[in-house]
Symmetry: C2
């Protein structure tokens, strides 16, 4: 009962004054020890999972809404979110009885409520080191989980499609932008870096070509130290050349014209 | 007077049933004889220019709305529009008295009309051969013009920012995607192709590096013919290898990982 009242307050507080027809959804990819995962939420009383998403307040910019929604729903803050696509298919919500879902949560909204109107969702994504961040739960949510991207469950609305599009964008990003800072330890070996790429891409890469290409980008510094103790020849340690790394983040890895 | 009545009908027909809070704006770049231009409209009775844009109908997908709006406002059809960014700043419309502008056009709408609500606009862009397309005018518009992108006028709302973002996306696209089919004649010289790139980028490029890089993409076929009649050594003619071109459009110019 208390839960119901809380939910009702939440409803009045939040859903009463959100902008109709627009939402944001966040695809938070997590990397840790050669695993690529995605952060999904499960609402109370239902089986389906969903991306952390939500509505804009009338006076809120789109980017601010994405950061606030992510924080409210998962507790995550200071995440570098990147907008990647606006999902506006007419039928993107047709597969989900959202009214029924909210009713199960004790939230009784009129079927004409803006929350059930046709909505365009703007997708944001981020890649974080998932052992470094600890999600929390909002009142609507029963469970959060880092799912292996290869084993993501069926989600509400078009969230599977949004996740796939974000993954495609992330993989494309590997060709054009530097990736790895904050995901790898400060010093790492070339095989460790390669493993990061392979994990995101979901496939194995040729060792020589990978090394040649990465070194060609000029964002790595080879250290004089080697990683000791392995069964094989001790590999060199590398770190990112932070100045070059951030320069490449700005302008892309490929040469400007 | 007739004009006023027409506009009023249009208002009732269209503005009465559009989705609030969401719009689309189209940045149509035109290339012709080494000029890069952008298609802008000027509404009746006002001085400011704007991008061709408009609203979604409640039952219309985002992409469909972009195509319909472009067709209604400029007559352009079968244009390959690419979504590139959703503009959602809270203050993006603050610099424009849209109510006053419509009033000048004889369109009297209540200040609480959805058209004046805070709106997120999804940007689309395209690059066309501008001598091949002939824009028309809708009833709201007094004038259309292909503006040199370097001399674009001050526009309504945040349309200058939207145009700049589209131009940045187009220039970025030059590094990752093949460009040129439908913009150049079927057979062209390397200097002509280079001029296309230089025009889009707004700067001159090194001839040798350009040739090396473009040939490296594998999307060009050198023909046995040469362009005759010039003052200099007759240059070879090239055409696009359409199979490779479309393959690269799909997967990007750079090697997949």
């Amino acid at each position: 009962m208390e839960q119901k009242i809380q939910a009702k307050n939440l409803d009045e507080q939040r859903f009463g004054r959100v902008l109709p027809h627009v939402s944001v959804d966040c695809v938070i990819f997590g990397f840790h020890e050669n695993q690529l995962r995605v952060l999904l939420l499960r609402l109370r009383s239902i089986q389906e999972w969903s991306l952390p998403g939500g509505r804009l307040f009338p006076d809120e910019s789109l980017d601010d809404a994405a950061h606030r929604v992510l924080k409210e729903r998962t507790g995550l803050q200071n995440i570098f979110l990147k907008q990647f696509y606006a999902f506006g298919d007419r039928h993107r919500m047709d597969n989900t009885d959202f009214h029924g879902i909210l009713a199960k949560q004790g939230i009784q909204l009129d079927p004409s409520h803006v929350l059930f109107d046709r909505t365009i969702s703007v997708g944001y994504y981020a890649l974080v080191e998932f052992s470094q961040v600890t999600p929390g739960l909002d009142i609507l949510t029963e469970e959060w989980r880092w799912w292996d991207v290869r084993e993501a469950p069926v989600m509400l609305f078009d969230h599977n499609e949004i996740m796939s599009a974000a993954l495609k964008t992330l993989r494309r990003q590997l060709r054009y932008d530097p990736v790895g800072l904050n995901l790898l330890p400060e010093k790492f070996t070339m095989p460790e870096l390669q493993k990061l790429y392979e994990t995101i891409l979901g496939k194995t890469l040729d060792r020589r070509n990978f090394q040649k290409r990465l070194l060609g980008y000029g964002i790595l510094k080879r250290l004089e130290e080697r990683r000791l103790g392995g069964a094989h020849k001790s590999p060199y340690l590398y770190c990112f050349d932070r100045e070059q790394y951030f320069k490449a983040l700005e302008s892309g890895l490929e040469h400007e014209w």
